[in-house]
Assembly symmetry: C2
């Protein structure tokens, strides 16, 4: 059904000139009110037409008795009416020339009403509309202030978010907003009678405003097409995916939830990995991985330099990195000998430990010495400032190295309040910071996974020829 429609036709869905809100309500607390309010308060600049058989005004907007009564053109319909009325409303929208619809209404297959969903699917196919839903939490395009959703209004950013679970989607939007993270697009696609996960992946793959895609998925409709599209998109931008239903019991839970066959969870995971999807295991990893994948160059091998002023966190990072398949090797002898300016009792074996005596100058000197050669493929710099070390100074100093060395530089400035002024300096320079060594290590893993995928698929010679890289 989706093959004879081009992805470009999703354009009107995200970029309408005008929106009809069908099932708009004048009662605060009703979904039909809250979504209209979100669209109005979100600052959408085009026409907004509430539709309600009772007429009147809602939120100072004139209300229409039906979509047919609207005089101007309507690009997008947001439908919040009772389930059984939706197929006819789709017909009406088709008659009116509406290009796309988001069906928020629930009460279809997810409630056991398969017949109604089949009817809806037929009407959608005949209507010419591109339809998201039913049983979904809506869509967002922050670039044109389109918040056709009942969820919290997230700010602008470069992450495009596709979710099979509306509620989880909402919770993740709230999480992002709490942390000051923005998004380009958000789509909860619900039962997917028309537009499905693969269409959306393809669309966001082309979307200029989306630099990274995050995806919560339980099952896919057409595995082969999904894998093909995912691989194609992955070559352009990172896709970070969380798969629900990996275990047997989780898979049974999926069946009860979205009716998807989660199938053999592990087989899914293997296929996802083949397509370049980076697998996240918890919510914060969506954003940790987005950050590292947006800001860092690719890794040309698995060797990580760990530079620290505190042994414990460096040990934690080393454990985690090596558990994840990366390597924290000692510098070759000729490189190590260049560290003779350091006191004898500093460890120079990697992790290189500058101890509590560390200064911004020694951080920079050691980093330049070891990281400007080809030996290390990424560097993790850890700073746990004692009160007499200004962590802002260290951040500024290593930011300068970032400009010179075009390789991934990752930071772990630990100590809450004590480092809060240093973090914006690091991140402003493209040095992503993580609050614990384990999270920093896992982010480096994500970068390594993506680097390997790109190396394999883009077959860059410079990449393959470098020693120490094991694709």
């Amino acid at each position: 059904m989706t093959t004879n429609r081009s992805t470009n036709s999703l354009f009107s869905l995200f970029n309408p000139n005008s929106i009809a809100v069908i099932g708009a309500s004048s009662k605060p607390g009703k979904v039909g009110y809250e979504i209209l309010k979100n669209i109005v308060e979100g600052g959408f600049k085009g026409g907004i037409y509430p539709v309600n058989p009772r007429g009147g005004e809602i939120l100072s907007l004139e209300t229409y008795r039906s979509v047919k009564e609207i005089k101007g053109e309507v690009d997008l319909a947001v439908i919040i009416t009772p389930a059984e009325t939706v197929p006819e409303i789709i017909d009406e929208c088709g008659g009116k020339g509406v290009k796309a619809a988001v069906v928020i209404s629930a009460g279809f297959s997810e409630s056991g009403n398969l017949k109604l969903e089949t009817k809806l699917r037929e009407r959608v196919e005949n209507s010419g509309l591109r339809v998201i839903g039913p049983n979904c939490a809506g869509i967002v395009n922050t670039s044109n202030n389109l918040y056709a959703t009942m969820e919290i209004r997230v700010g602008k950013g470069e992450i495009g978010f596709i979710t099979q679970s509306g509620a989880l989607g909402g919770a993740i939007l709230a999480w992002a907003k709490d942390k000051g993270i923005g998004m380009s697009k958000f789509v909860s696609y619900g039962n997917a009678v028309d537009v499905d996960e693969t269409d959306l992946l393809e669309y966001l793959g082309e979307d200029q405003e989306t630099k990274t895609i995050i995806l919560y998925i339980e099952g896919v409709k057409n595995g082969r097409r999904f894998i093909e599209v995912a691989r194609k998109v992955s070559m352009k931008k990172p896709i970070i995916a969380m798969k629900g239903g990996v275990t047997e019991m989780g898979s049974r839970a999926v069946q009860s939830h979205t009716g998807s066959l989660a199938g053999e969870g592990r087989i899914y995971l293997a296929a996802f990995k083949q397509s370049g999807l980076i697998l996240a295991e918890d919510v914060h990893e969506f954003f940790d991985f987005s950050k590292v994948l947006t800001h860092c160059e690719r890794m040309r091998g698995e060797r990580v330099l760990v530079l620290t002023n505190s042994g414990g966190p460096a040990v934690m990072a080393t454990d985690k990195l090596t558990e994840l398949g990366l390597s924290v090797p000692e510098p070759p002898q000729e490189l190590k000998s260049k560290l003779d300016f350091l006191p004898k009792y500093y460890s120079k074996r990697n992790p290189v430990d500058l101890t509590a005596e560390a200064t911004a100058e020694t951080y920079v000197k050691v980093l330049k010495t070891l990281f400007s050669t080809e030996f290390y493929h990424a560097a993790l710099v850890i700073c746990v400032p004692p009160f007499f070390l200004d962590s802002v100074e260290v951040a500024k100093a290593i930011s300068e190295v970032r400009d010179e060395v075009k390789k991934p530089l990752i930071a772990c400035w630990m100590s809450g309040e004590l480092v809060k002024d240093a973090i914006p300096i690091l991140e402003g320079k493209g040095i992503p910071n993580f609050p614990t060594p384990s999270r920093a290590a896992k982010a480096i893993w994500a970068l390594y996974e993506r680097s390997k995928f790109l190396a394999r698929h883009l077959k860059q010679k410079t990449f393959k020829n470098l020693k120490g890289f094991r694709p």
Copy 2:
């Protein structure tokens, strides 16, 4: 060396009537100034005697030229003088009748100066003092406002924290303070010429103010004694441990850091587990596990009920729980049939999904029905509030069930800002809340691990006889 001294002799270390700060400085930014300031500003009520050969006043306190000059009794000496002066100062302290010392000074074995460390060890043995350090970040006892440390001043609480890495310790204190988490004691034990990790574990095991012990450790001095003490203490209160140097490279990093032989990381982990230590993998787990282990009853088996209003997070929880060895089984038929009051299309198979239609009443009704029988050993209640559901009402409602059902009840109220008022209600009633389903699941795992340990060692018949429990 420690065997002929009783643990009770650590009492003066944490409960001194008076403190000498030897090496106190009048210069802000110097360690000798900042530690004195922490002791004064922390509100320690006993005598505080700065010692500095120059005399004069520091922070409005009279300064003594040496510890001998102090007229009153001194229970605790905090030593911040250059390394080579420390052995003699210990002698002086011995002569003065000082009972314990914390040696902050660095420049011993960690800098390659093994000879000086041996000398210090000998003097300590002859002095009769109990000594923490050298090369440590100090100690804290919040119950008497003793902050003999250069680290941030953490608030009062029930967690006792022992760390082999001073800087990591400081970073974790800062993390705790950021999250509003308090502690009973903090000890960074450094090179441990006298008091070691096992002594401290034993002491905190007896400490009335400490309900949970958290431990960062790279290596132990006397493995057999550590294991014995850890097992004994674990029967009384939970010990949550993070082990640095689990992998081969991590183990090499440990050797460079504390000089400990981390040994075969995996063997360590197995021994730790045998002793009842719960293993944390990242900083937040220290506090997640403390919370669940402090507030929840033991689990009498592995069966977890997952009750939710959103499918996605329930799927995530189910995956994580089963990956960790727990079980999310369907209710037996006779129990399931008691859910007939729910609409047909709700999933009743566990996870039980109340969908977006969930109300506080249905949450309670389902929870009471399924959780008041013996079948489930713990319940995870997930709430992702749509804007029309008051998550505070749901929190209040399930809190009432908590009073009736004496089994572990864990919450995952997701959505940042939207649930912030509900969380104190839950936690005030002994229902620990976690921000993501994966973290909630991992916390339940910690509870399950501890429950199994206690079942095995306390051999409680009621525990062993219950079906479904696999120790």
